[in-house]
């Protein structure tokens, strides 16, 4: 029974980070209508950015979190127009093109990382690494705990931004109908850039955490792209509440499969679950997606 609760806690503790990825990802889809295939690669780039900062300065990786977020938000703000150019490309299959474009970006990022950094795995050591504390006989890894709490807080902050501020209202309006929002005086192209910036900031932050909990290597992205898809599709594309629920679910599935079934089956099981969800409830587990 101890093992069961330990697994449960581990699952919940990793789910928080997936929520951060999923929230940004789903918002990005909601406004841009583009599935970013490179999401895992952005996670990877975030992890590598922290790794190199830590490598050259020796300062604890977690100190760099705000810097990484700001850095990637700037990158996102200036990268988005490129993506926008593909989306508004006057062709009937513009969406397909955008999908393929991010797909190309993901290959590019992975290839560049492999070429520059090689295939070996690196690890990030933070001041929380290796520390545990115990509650009711269940040991809680400090790093996972801190990461999840931080990720959830940032996500909440960002939900507050989305639902309680004027900027958030503009974002939601743009997600609803971009052209009508434009007619109401919302600068929707700027909104799209801001959303993409937020998305990249959240993703890179998660990359820092995931890199320090697991390891940093150029091929790590693939896994997280699949996870992000799982969360977003299971929660219903565009539904943030659904994504949060699905993020926790993903964390739980991950940890239970790893303990009770075996880590090599994880994609198989995720795929089966995803498939069933798509067939039974194509709008996501809460029925709120599109």
């Amino acid at each position: 029974m101890d093992l069961f609760f330990q697994t449960l806690v581990n699952g919940l503790l990793i789910g928080g980070i997936y929520i951060a990825v999923a929230a940004g990802f789903t918002l990005c889809f909601g406004v841009l209508h583009v599935i970013d295939f490179a999401v895992g690669e952005w996670v990877m780039l975030g992890a590598f950015a922290v790794f190199w900062l830590n490598f050259f300065t020796g300062v604890d990786p977690l100190i760099f979190l705000p810097l990484i977020m700001v850095l990637f938000m700037i990158v996102g703000y200036y990268f988005q127009p490129l993506l926008q150019r593909v989306i508004t490309n006057q062709q009937s299959n513009a969406l397909l093109m955008a999908l393929a474009f991010t797909f190309g970006m993901s290959i590019l990022f992975r290839g560049s990382a492999l070429t520059l950094f090689g295939f070996n795995q690196r690890s990030l050591t933070t001041f929380l690494s290796g520390k545990n504390f115990e509650i009711l006989g269940i040991s809680i890894p400090a790093l996972r705990f801190g990461a999840t709490v931080f990720a959830v807080l940032v996500t909440l902050l960002f939900m507050f931004l989305l639902y309680k501020t004027k900027l958030g209202l503009a974002v939601r309006a743009a997600a609803e109908r971009q052209d009508v929002a434009g007619l109401m005086g919302i600068d929707s192209s700027n909104i799209a850039r801001i959303v993409y910036a937020i998305y990249l900031g959240l993703t890179a932050m998660s990359g820092t955490f995931l890199g320090s909990i697991f390891s940093v290597h150029p091929d790590m992205g693939l896994r997280y792209t699949l996870f992000a898809f799982f969360v977003v599709v299971a929660g219903g594309l565009g539904s943030i509440q659904g994504a949060i629920l699905a993020g926790i679910m993903l964390g739980l599935i991950n940890s239970f499969v790893a303990v009770y079934v075996g880590g090599q089956y994880i994609f198989l099981i995720l795929f089966t679950v995803l498939y069933l969800i798509l067939l039974v409830a194509p709008k996501g587990i809460l029925g709120k997606g599109w």
Partner: protein, 327 residues
């Protein structure tokens, strides 16, 4: 035959010349180059199969490599049971087509990004199944009886590729079926309202686009004689199918052919000069991004005569259709 105009006559002459050249190639070049040319042929077939699905029906699959790998494994298993190679490869094709039909029935209900994700996840799952199944050898893979006859594989590939391209051309450009498929690409709901059995058409196209990769996978397995999940089920196979087609030009017959030749030759040249390098991925990624940004209709659009065949009509309302499609 009906009336044949001059340009068609000229095309026929070109095709006849190409076939003759292709037939004598093995006697004219070294076995090193023959292997490369055989590889080019294989990729033409794979890219063209993907193009049937994505270019003509507008369903982007990011997991099409799975059918190639399945074909390779089915052939390997059949041959280990003593079935003749050609029959094994045909079994592989039929198996992958049937498999695609079964998988496609639920999956094809999804559209756009959902479909892309589902196929991608599907391919990952197949790779994992193959890794754990008892009769596929797991991560160690399978060995096939060796056969050291490069010419044989060249002709097998050539035959399959001629079949693939001819069938794709006939179905998508000549037969009524192609019009139905394109109707689904342009506006699926309208196609349905007009009385097309959309589900059946989609499943047949999906099965067709899985049939050829199955056979090609089989030939590849026998050619390489050793397969394992990371060679025939690697994600890079699906990646390359997508990239080649995008590079050459989506929804054209010439596009995937040009894309496959350019990309595969580039790959091999890189390999000759620098060995197996991950820098290739950088080039592939850059190529896709640049082509989509600056040449969305692919390389074929540089040669107007080849590209004009099936260029999707330019939308006159730029943004509104984009938002509608995703709902």
């Amino acid at each position: 035959m009906e009336y044949v105009d001059n340009s068609q006559k000229r095309n026929l002459i070109w095709i006849a010349l190409l076939v003759i050249v292709a037939t004598v190639i093995p006697f004219a070049i070294s076995s090193f180059w023959l292997r490369i040319v055989t590889g080019v042929l294989m990729w033409i077939g794979l890219a063209q199969s993907w193009n049937i699905l994505a270019g003509y029906m507008g369903y982007v699959s990011f997991g099409h490599g799975a059918f190639f790998g399945l074909g390779a494994y089915v052939t390997a298993i059949a041959m280990s049971l003593g079935v003749h190679f050609i029959i094994s490869a045909l079994i592989a094709g039929v198996f992958t087509a049937a498999f695609a039909a079964i998988i496609g029935y639920p999956t094809l209900r999804l559209q756009g990004a959902y479909f892309a994700i589902a196929t991608w996840a599907f391919a990952e799952a197949i790779r994992q199944i193959v890794l754990v199944l008892p009769f596929t050898g797991g991560a160690y893979g399978m060995r096939l009886p060796p056969m050291l006859n490069e010419n044989f594989f060249y002709y097998m590939m050539l035959l399959t590729i001629i079949g693939t391209v001819a069938i794709a051309y006939y179905l998508m450009h000549k037969a009524k079926f192609g019009l139905k498929v394109k109707a689904i690409r342009e506006e699926e709901i309208a196609a349905n309202v007009l009385g097309l059995d959309v589900t059946r058409i989609k499943i047949s196209v999906f099965a067709l686009s899985a049939f050829f990769p199955g056979i090609l996978g089989g030939i590849y397995a026998y050619w390489i004689t050793y397969i394992h999940p990371d060679s025939v089920l690697a994600p890079v196979i699906a990646d390359q199918m997508v990239v080649m087609t995008m590079l050459g030009g989506l929804g054209t017959i010439a596009g995937p052919i040009i894309g496959a030749v350019v990309l595969f030759m580039g790959n091999r040249l890189l390999w000759v000069f620098w060995g197996d390098t991950s820098f290739y991925l950088v080039l592939v990624g850059l190529a896709v991004a640049l082509v989509i940004l600056f040449l969305p209709s692919g390389l074929v659009s540089l040669v107007p005569r080849l590209g004009k065949k099936d260029k999707p009509k330019v939308d006159d309302q730029p943004n509104s259709s984009v938002t509608e499609h995703t709902k």
